[in-house]
């Protein structure tokens, strides 16, 4: 007996059921792209990462129980996709010396220039500092969630976040004395 062929009505109902999830994923694409862009420091690579992440998310959509958890779930997939597709070492191969010189602070006399200077500085942060910072500030992940995701101790994450902000602190206002950075505990 031949396999039953789904009717136009059945296919239509299946498409209707998928529509909300598709719309949900698509509504988060700008957030995901921005997140991936700050991790990868390259727009076209970020687009590839997000595309692949959305594909993976779609394939494992059964794992998403609550639509409210979709954002964190998708951001986690994007982060893993970034780590998977673009190994740390290859990321560090991108020389930023020419393109990302921090502008002279004296020239950064207005708010826009200060913001631009800060963006440059964030881009120049080593991945071990930039990644938890972006996860926390952009992704809204807690310290514990970052520690779990990056397979670090909670103290190691606290230290990295502290150091990330300490490195940026001097660019954000008149008080530019660096904070006393504690030693990082072994992960």
């Amino acid at each position: 007996m031949p396999a039953p062929v789904s009717s136009i009505g059945e296919r239509s109902r299946a498409a209707d059921a998928r529509a909300p999830l598709t719309a949900l994923f698509e509504s988060m694409r700008p957030d995901l792209l921005r997140f991936a862009h700050w991790l990868a420091r390259d727009r076209s690579l970020a687009e590839d990462i997000v595309q692949e992440a959305l594909l993976r998310a779609w394939r494992s959509r059964e794992a998403l129980k609550e639509p409210a958890a979709a954002r964190a779930w998708l951001l986690t997939i994007v982060r893993r996709e970034h780590a998977r597709l673009y190994e740390r070492k290859r990321l560090e191969l991108v020389s930023l010396d020419d393109a990302l010189d921090i502008p002279d602070k004296a020239a950064a006399a207005n708010a826009d220039a200060e913001l631009l200077t800060l963006r440059y500085a964030i881009m120049r942060l080593p991945i071990e500092y930039r990644e938890p910072l972006v996860m926390q500030v952009l992704g809204g992940f807690s310290t514990e969630e970052i520690a779990r995701e990056l397979e670090l101790t909670n103290t190691a994450v606290l230290t990295r976040l502290f150091r990330a902000r300490s490195k940026l602190r001097g660019l954000c206002g008149p008080n530019s004395e660096p904070g006393a950075a504690p030693r990082e505990q072994p992960a």
């Binding site: 190994e87 964030i122 606290l158 502290f162």
Partner: protein, 234 residues
């Protein structure tokens, strides 16, 4: 709670709160001021991250399709076979040049100013079956790098004369100390155990002290089994 702990918590999450932290901040003007400042910093960071980084970067290496990796692997294997004789007969100063080229390929390594975790150092060393007695707080950069067909530890060590790069080359033998100066770097490669150690500094400087010190601190452990074949990209 002491000030150091409070500042770690504040710096890690300026908008966070906890009973212990709040109690400390209420009674400590310095930490209270620090929290206010870090909150301003955090607000600025939030504004900076709100838009994608509108920064031009040099083209990043792109992920390649799987079939191209296999094709590349085949090409690399062919090239390696064809060039084997040349490779075996290469002049000794080629090693120094390749060491310099490798270090130039990781410019960020010189920028590190804080220690790396013991886990990261351990990972960089264990992949090559290397043990090291050097105090971990001197090491500000640690990677396991693909170099001449093997993973080698690539470290940057903070010395009294500035940072120095160290490559522990288990599979590269040299007969005697070789000094070199190339592309603005000064370095030596010294025999050590079953291989050699390369030590480099930017500019002119003395690196023999560190090289000598490392010779006594490196331990050659059993080399781990190689990972499944994969195209080395670096």
């Amino acid at each position: 709670m002491i000030c150091e702990d409070a500042r770690l918590l504040i710096g890690a999450d300026p908008d966070g709160a906890g009973p212990g932290l709040e109690e400390h901040v209420r009674g400590c003007e310095d930490c209270s001021a620090f929290r206010e400042e870090m909150r301003r910093v955090n607000a600025a960071i939030r504004r900076a991250l709100a838009e994608p980084p509108d920064v031009r970067v040099r083209a990043a290496p792109r992920a390649v399709p799987r079939w191209r990796e296999y094709a590349l692997a085949a090409g690399v294997a062919l090239a390696m076979t064809a060039g084997l004789a040349v490779w075996l007969l290469r002049p000794s100063d080629t090693l120094a040049r390749e060491v310099v080229a490798h270090v130039e390929g990781e410019p960020d390594s010189w920028l590190s100013s804080h220690g790396v975790s013991a886990g990261e150092i351990g990972h960089a060393l264990q992949r090559s079956g290397i043990g090291l007695d050097l105090a971990s707080d001197k090491i500000v950069y640690a990677q396991s790098c693909w170099f001449r067909g093997h993973y080698v530890p690539h470290l940057v060590v903070e010395t009294t004369r500035g940072p120095a790069t160290v490559l522990i080359l288990r599979h590269e033998q040299v007969r005697a100390r070789e000094a070199f100066r190339e592309d603005g770097m000064t370095g030596v490669i010294v025999p050590a155990g079953e291989g050699s150690i390369a030590v480099l500094k930017r500019g002119r400087g003395q690196v023999d002290d560190l090289a000598g010190e490392l010779r006594g601190e490196v331990h050659w452990l059993a080399e781990p089994e190689p990972a499944p074949a994969r195209v080395p990209m670096h």
